[in-house]
């Protein structure tokens, strides 16, 4: 038990250090970027005094390490801008305050997380189903026409750029055939059917590329494992093939596949920028893109940290899963 606890603690410490490093790098990028975020709050016309006041109000007049330190501590304790009746309170956890949007970053992110989660989970489920099925079938029917056509499909899937596929999908299925809605997002709580219907095309676009990759991955792993001794033993015991595959081979390919899946999924949780843009879905990716374009530093930092946490968390989940499935780890 001691080992487990030590492992978790060391991972936690590692995570914290990585997050601080990421925050620092993001911060440094924007510090070096010669754009003044106080310009946004300055108004028109922007006099030097107004600009100076805006900078002081937003805290950008302090030296960079003070700003960075403040940002880190504010995550835990929150902060208040201004004084008196017009003070704006950003309560912990305060990932920053977006003056452009008049909203704490935490709220903005929290509002968008369900959207990005919807896209990510749906696409993940789709690509895993397609990928694993395709890979297994391809491996079992190795060399046949079916195998070859599946492999061709994977090449297409990997090469097709997502925005092109997305736009084509919108054009053909949305405008011409009018099967799916062309843009927007409907919350799950509002109407599950509409929610799913609006997301079918984004899911498909995202899943297309990943499914291709996973098909190849699963196929390779399957082929490697089908030649292993334990498969021969399982067959020698008289197990039907589907049990051999289902209970033994799949279990053995689970660890590498799940490890890669965890990382992919973690990356997706940070927001599928291109897909969200194309389908006009306002998820974390779109938020991030707008923030970068508008030099909204606090929002960029907040989203970056959240995305980093997602990836690290999924990494941890992958490691734990590997330890659970594989007793040798």
């Amino acid at each position: 038990m001691n080992d487990r606890i030590r492992f978790l603690l060391s991972r936690l410490l590692q995570t914290l250090l990585v997050l601080i490093l990421i925050a620092f790098i993001t911060f440094a990028v924007f510090e070096l970027f010669p754009a003044d975020p106080a310009q946004l709050a300055c108004g028109k016309p922007c006099t030097p005094e107004n600009l100076a006041r805006a900078r002081a109000y937003m805290g950008y007049d302090k030296p960079w390490f003070v700003q960075f330190w403040n940002y880190l501590t504010e995550i835990f304790v929150g902060t208040t801008y201004g004084t008196g009746a017009g003070a704006i309170r950003c309560s912990a956890p305060c990932l920053g305050y977006s003056f452009r949007l008049s909203s704490p970053v935490t709220d903005l992110i929290a509002a968008r997380i369900p959207i990005t989660l919807s896209i990510a989970v749906g696409a993940a489920v789709l690509w895993m189903v397609i990928g694993v099925t395709g890979g297994v079938v391809s491996a079992l029917r190795r060399g046949t026409a079916l195998d070859r056509s599946i492999m061709t499909f994977t090449v297409v899937g990997v090469s097709a750029p997502s925005y092109l596929v997305g736009l084509l999908g919108i054009l053909l299925l949305g405008f011409k055939a009018d099967i799916v809605p062309v843009a927007g997002y409907v919350p799950l709580s509002q109407s599950p059917v509409d929610w799913a219907w609006h997301l079918v095309l984004p899911w498909t676009v995202l899943a297309l590329i990943s499914a291709a990759i996973y098909t190849r991955l699963v196929r390779g792993e399957m082929l490697e494992n089908l030649g292993e001794d334990y498969v021969r033993t399982a067959r020698a015991t008289g197990l039907p093939e589907r049990r051999v595959i289902g209970n033994h081979v799949l279990r053995n390919i689970a660890v590498p596949v799940l490890t890669i899946f965890a990382l992919d999924f973690g990356g997706l949780l940070g927001g599928a920028v291109i897909t969200e843009r194309v389908f006009s879905i306002q998820g974390l990716g779109a938020l991030f893109l707008d923030a970068v374009g508008a030099t909204d530093i606090q929002l960029v930092m907040g989203v970056t940290l959240v995305a980093a946490v997602a990836v690290i968390l999924m990494n941890l989940v992958a490691d734990i899963l590997a330890a659970v499935i594989d007793p040798r780890v």
Partner: protein, 539 residues
Amino acid sequence: MPASEGIDLDLVPGRVLALVGESGSGKSVTALGSLGLLPPTARVSGSAVLAHGGNGEEVELVGAPRAVLDDTRGRLVGTIFQEPATALDPLLTIGAQITEAIRAHRSDKGHKRESRSQLRGRVRELLTRVGLPDVERIAASYPHQLSGGQQQRACIALALACDPPVIVGDEPTTALDVTVQAGILELLRSLTGDGMAVLLITHDMGVVADIADDVAVMRRGRIVERGEVDRIFSHPSHPYTRELLDSVPRLDALREAPAGTGSDQEVGRPNDAVVEVTDLDVVYKARGRRPVHAVRGVTLAISAGEILGLVGESGSGKSTIAGTLTGMVPVTSGSVRVDGIEVAGASRRELLPVRRQTGVVYQNPASALNPRRTIGASIAEPLLLHAEMTSAQRRARVRELLEQVRLPVSMAERYPHEMSGGQRQRVAIARALALQPRLVIADEPTSALDVSVQAVVLDLLVSLQADLGFACLFVSHDLAVVEQIAARTIVLSQGRVVEEGPTVQVLANPRQEYTRRLVAAVPVPDPKVQRARRAALVG
């Protein structure tokens, strides 16, 4: 070219049939092919009939649909494979795998579904039957947590899960230590007592002599001779069988013929010690795991012109000691002097003269030679690195070496994959001798070779040693081989020296209990003698 043709075998309940042959003879292919366990690239034709179907019918296995094969495998025929470590699914516990095997055939036989406790009981029963202690712990363990012998026993339990009338063992003990092997063979023997028929595929005549009742000898895909074991061993009719039996090293040969090759050797000139190892300790430290004490306080010496045999089971530290002599394995404490130079803690530059004087021959000739180089280039490599020779001189030396190892000189242009295992090992020996070393380390050089080839290589080694006078450290787990060529022998167990002395004495009259057990476990390729020994052990 067919791997095997026209085979017909009769398996009788309660008797063990041994299918013997060298590598490439087609014995595994025959047995596994009839069960449909070969890779899909193999084409099996003909007929393999199992005359003990569920209702007394005959079951045709070749070309049978998967359902028929599934029914046969496990229920009628249990299989044990060579490598127990990889034969089990590493992610499931032993108990789970056995349970699965039991369930595979129970549910469709009309028996009512067994309850979990019944299944657990059955698992325990099976594990006890195969001689495993502490069955609860084993049933909950994963394969990597068991030793080799325990893994093989678990595989046997898996094969026995549905009480099949036939057990097929494909070299079940080849990968195991000799003492462990004895136990497994004993177990297999006991299975016949329960009325099972056992088909044992092996290349080890000692094993055959130990447990077989009937023998079938295969060569190049065909059966050349078959008969009862006594007759085959005492009066082999086919010349190949005779050749096979002759080339098997016998552990008791010395006792019958005291003037054997081993005692001809000089015991060595003690004052010309090429290797001096004093109080050697090697500890392997892996992160997160407990350190492994591979070698503890070992002291030995090898003189010029002497062959020292180093025997022990797997994990005894013999390869580690061989590794320290070349400087490949770091020494934790103690002294290792090769040719006067201290190897322990030496830098690469300091080791250079040592390495120049040392030649090594490894176990697996296929991987010891660079597949992309001609063997001439491989042999010339040490010359290139250490000696100042022109290419013409090098070529001349390569020719000379090839002649010494009794290979045709034209072989210099060939690639390793174009040669047989024995030829490759001879090339490795030639390479080891290229710089006229004072020390040759042979780390299990014949373990991967067939018995007939083994004889040739050993013979060659002995004659070369007599000619060139180098000191030789011969590491092996095969006592019979060591007896054949080594003058002195050291027995290692778990990193410690258990016994040392002249080979004749150590193996014929071992002083230590461990050595006695070791010697006793080695099967002698003589069925009568072996039966007597077994009786003595039991009695």
